[in-house]
Symmetry: C3
Subunit: 429 residues, 3 copies
Amino acid sequence: MTEKIGNEMYDLMKRLYPICRSITGDGVRQTLKIIKKLIPIEIKEVPTGKKVFDWTIPKEWNIKDAYIKDLKGKKIVDFKKSNLHVLNYSKPINKKMNLIELKKHLFTLPEHPDWIPYLTSYYKENWGFCITQKQFEKLKEDTYEVFIDSELKDGHLTYGEYLIKGKSKDEVLISTYLCHPSLCNDNLSGVVLTTFLAKYLKNKKLNFSYRFLFIPETIGAITWLNINEKNLSKIKHGLVVTCVGDSGNLTYKKTRRGNAEIDKIVEKILFESENQFTICDFFPSGSDERQYCSAGFNLPVGSLMRTPYGRFPEYHTSADDLKFVKPKYLADTYEKYIEIFNILENNGTYLNQNPKCEPQLGKRGLYRMIGAQKTQEKNDAFVSELAMLWVLNMSDGKNSLLDIAIKSNLSFKEIKIAADALLKNKLLR
Amino acid sequence: MTEKIGNEMYDLMKRLYPICRSITGDGVRQTLKIIKKLIPIEIKEVPTGKKVFDWTIPKEWNIKDAYIKDLKGKKIVDFKKSNLHVLNYSKPINKKMNLIELKKHLFTLPEHPDWIPYLTSYYKENWGFCITQKQFEKLKEDTYEVFIDSELKDGHLTYGEYLIKGKSKDEVLISTYLCHPSLCNDNLSGVVLTTFLAKYLKNKKLNFSYRFLFIPETIGAITWLNINEKNLSKIKHGLVVTCVGDSGNLTYKKTRRGNAEIDKIVEKILFESENQFTICDFFPSGSDERQYCSAGFNLPVGSLMRTPYGRFPEYHTSADDLKFVKPKYLADTYEKYIEIFNILENNGTYLNQNPKCEPQLGKRGLYRMIGAQKTQEKNDAFVSELAMLWVLNMSDGKNSLLDIAIKSNLSFKEIKIAADALLKNKLLR
Amino acid sequence: MTEKIGNEMYDLMKRLYPICRSITGDGVRQTLKIIKKLIPIEIKEVPTGKKVFDWTIPKEWNIKDAYIKDLKGKKIVDFKKSNLHVLNYSKPINKKMNLIELKKHLFTLPEHPDWIPYLTSYYKENWGFCITQKQFEKLKEDTYEVFIDSELKDGHLTYGEYLIKGKSKDEVLISTYLCHPSLCNDNLSGVVLTTFLAKYLKNKKLNFSYRFLFIPETIGAITWLNINEKNLSKIKHGLVVTCVGDSGNLTYKKTRRGNAEIDKIVEKILFESENQFTICDFFPSGSDERQYCSAGFNLPVGSLMRTPYGRFPEYHTSADDLKFVKPKYLADTYEKYIEIFNILENNGTYLNQNPKCEPQLGKRGLYRMIGAQKTQEKNDAFVSELAMLWVLNMSDGKNSLLDIAIKSNLSFKEIKIAADALLKNKLLR
């Protein structure tokens, strides 16, 4: 089941991989159009020049082609081979120059001589090429033809948004960024996972409303927060989805609050899983949780990743490619997100209706018939007695089912089944 | 001294061992009568049918004999050899049946082929025999005579209660259960230890009042709580006494509150002791602390055991016998309970009467005469200077002597002697 | 730089070493006069008989000479060779006596046969000699001439005080004791370190006012607290300086409060340092923090030492000499105290002026120009982006720069530089 979804996510990633995205422009639009075939996102456009808090929507950037030719007319660097070759947001150029001048605009990664670095210059007009160290070392004194067929003009910042309405207006925010060009783990993995999470929830009966954002990193989050400032109090829980497809263990970066319900949920799920994991406190570098958790908003938004940005050598290089991400890791992360939704949807705080001593579970068919046995026999209709005792003992109005699951060290599922049995028997309200 | 008491407790256990007890009936009465020779307990009777919270006092059960005979008239299972052979609370039966029918009412422990399991059926009318796996495997196709000479009729639930009055009406509750038949650690050990603790306190001048309960487990605690609901606020500290005679280390199960004074006392004593020990948080399975600590009461009742119920293989089997419990372990647990009483009786919160700087202890004869020595010489009249400094420094009205002993890592005794010396010198009030 | 200061401190210690000090008398005056050549301390005198809380200023003690002669007139113990030879505060005596009588007044250290112990008898009139175990063992039956040319008379308790005024009337208290005779680590090390700390701050522009005390231990602190009781609320932070010149690792004894700002500062500095260190909770034995942190005052005064009093074998013996303390250890402790002052002076709590999302640091020249790079290049004008993000994120009015440095695990210096850059750009207030 999740294997199938893992493959579907990977296939979507393969389709999105060649597109040259940036924080604005047609690459983003094209990406959103493909996603829209799977989930009914709204595509929104915010014009260049609009003020969003301390920032301004920049000019829209588009690019058709770029290359460096040597005197013989041979393309020695070619945008068509990798869109990482162009410094993202490069202004147009068409000029001949010598090697000394050219080198001021070349970027390499000496420690990985076969990899192309990914670099940007959104807010300072510049142009440049990112090449491998090996390409760089082959360059000789020569006259080079440098050509970038790009355009920087008033236009729009584009993003996608999709709200699945549940019974409550309280929202769960799932935010991912789609501004990176041909880079897989960072962050096509986030884009495809978010898409399939929305697809999963689309036709479910839900308690919470779920808001999915596909935005350019930083400026997109700032823009969305600016536009939606009045509605932010609806956001009760949130996660930023990034770097979710590599082979590393799961990493949870907590909300700035550090003890939000989403923190407890993700921690519980990670503790219940069989694999190693990492939980770290909030820190103010990273992805869009930087904006959601800025001092003035302090929204309960965490981030569940695999290997975090900056912690894998392939990060922001051409080596973060289709081989670096695997369907099974996408599927594993997907499962964990689904478990999170499951707890979010099923958590609740109940009141023991018979708080003085235990109720007699036996007369309600909820307790073993032969007493003094050492352990409860598990059968098909298994409702854990121990879980019921925990729920009864802790349901004093102060503890949610999640709190009880954490305290008892039982699974949320076991606690939920017990609570349902007690609810059915009116022992809980 | 405690060796002698260990032997006395063990001797009492030997007397109580053969009696067939249950949650009601003459076994309980007989047990209480024997205890009454040592301490003046009141024996109370609560009639069948009385509602106690969600429960009802069941019919009283008594049994005279029971066996299974084969066609040749040979008793192959005999209640007289072990009262565990009968499913506790079995209804009367006198019937011939074939092996297939009989097997529906036989219970064994395949993993321990020589042991008889202990099983009950209090609240669902049933009958059965508990036998060893070896007995079970010898059974052949045959016609068996099944005979249980028991009686289930309106009667009473019986329990014992003993209040030792101290200066204060505030109470310490010591609760043990006496409903198990021939099983030693669970819980004749608790019954005899509780008896001797009451005997120890009987003629002492006490600050607290001490209430001792000898009740059937679960239904007895529920009954007592129901009858005494209005007086529960008097209970300031409590312990459930169970499984206190085996060779395992001491285990303390905290109160549901988790930070009650009794929790701090027992933890301090365990930390001071030389032996390994375990401290665990409250959990809602177990013994009568389940009822005392139910959400609606949340009394400060913990439980100091040795190996907890369910954690030793002999638990609820015929192997929990007179060999499994030893006088020296009973004596060791006894000592710890006496230490608990000692702290309960002597703890207090005082106020430093000279809180600005240290008082001059030397002029009161409380400080060494030759200054600058590295350590205090210990003599007969030794009052620890360090302990006095701790008491003075922390006696700001917020810290009890126990708190000071915990914080200073000094023994409660040392702190108490220091406080007494300071009180005598009016430096404390 | 600090090497030079280490040597200067050591030189001062050498000058002070031979003086016979006590809790009163000319030794203290002489010591203060030498210090006064380096920093403008006020020398204060409090008369014998004055009541200070539970204590009374004792008679002033002075001593000129002391010896024990054998019948042949040979000085076998001579105050002029070591002032430790006389039980500090010995009354005058001039008498012949036999060995039995003499021995009642002799003190030795059997476990260190070459060392002279340091002992006192301030509050009980007595006389005595402290000698090595080897000296003691050579004594034969003889008639001895015992001579102590001391004087106990109404006079004064003398101490030194120096206040460096800063912008604020809030004070930092730096307290050391100068009552010990020829003992180096305990506490000439504290005296010389405190002197040079005051010298360092003397001409600085300061936010806090700094009060330096050179007092006799215990009675001096009690006296000062008594005289200044009305002004104690000014003391916002404080440290007792003792045992700061030996080769041991740094040890910080926390304030009684346990979470004062000074506790956080010293802990941060120790965690940042490369060396091992010890942090321990407050305990009520020790030095003058006993008085400052008595229940009635509870001032935020900790103590940063090297090996604490009583924890080195040389403590309170003639082996705590000029060889036991080394310039480099004095210098190392000095550095740490300066770092403490640096944080005290530079700590502050600011308010992010742009709390909704991050401000655009790039347009202010505070962010790297090429985006998506893995790490920030460090150049001369290096202001850590990460530190700026931490300061912005946490400057919600609840966190000081110190709190941010602790939470972020960045150095206080890095955080301070970032905060200054943000302040300059009006992003912080």
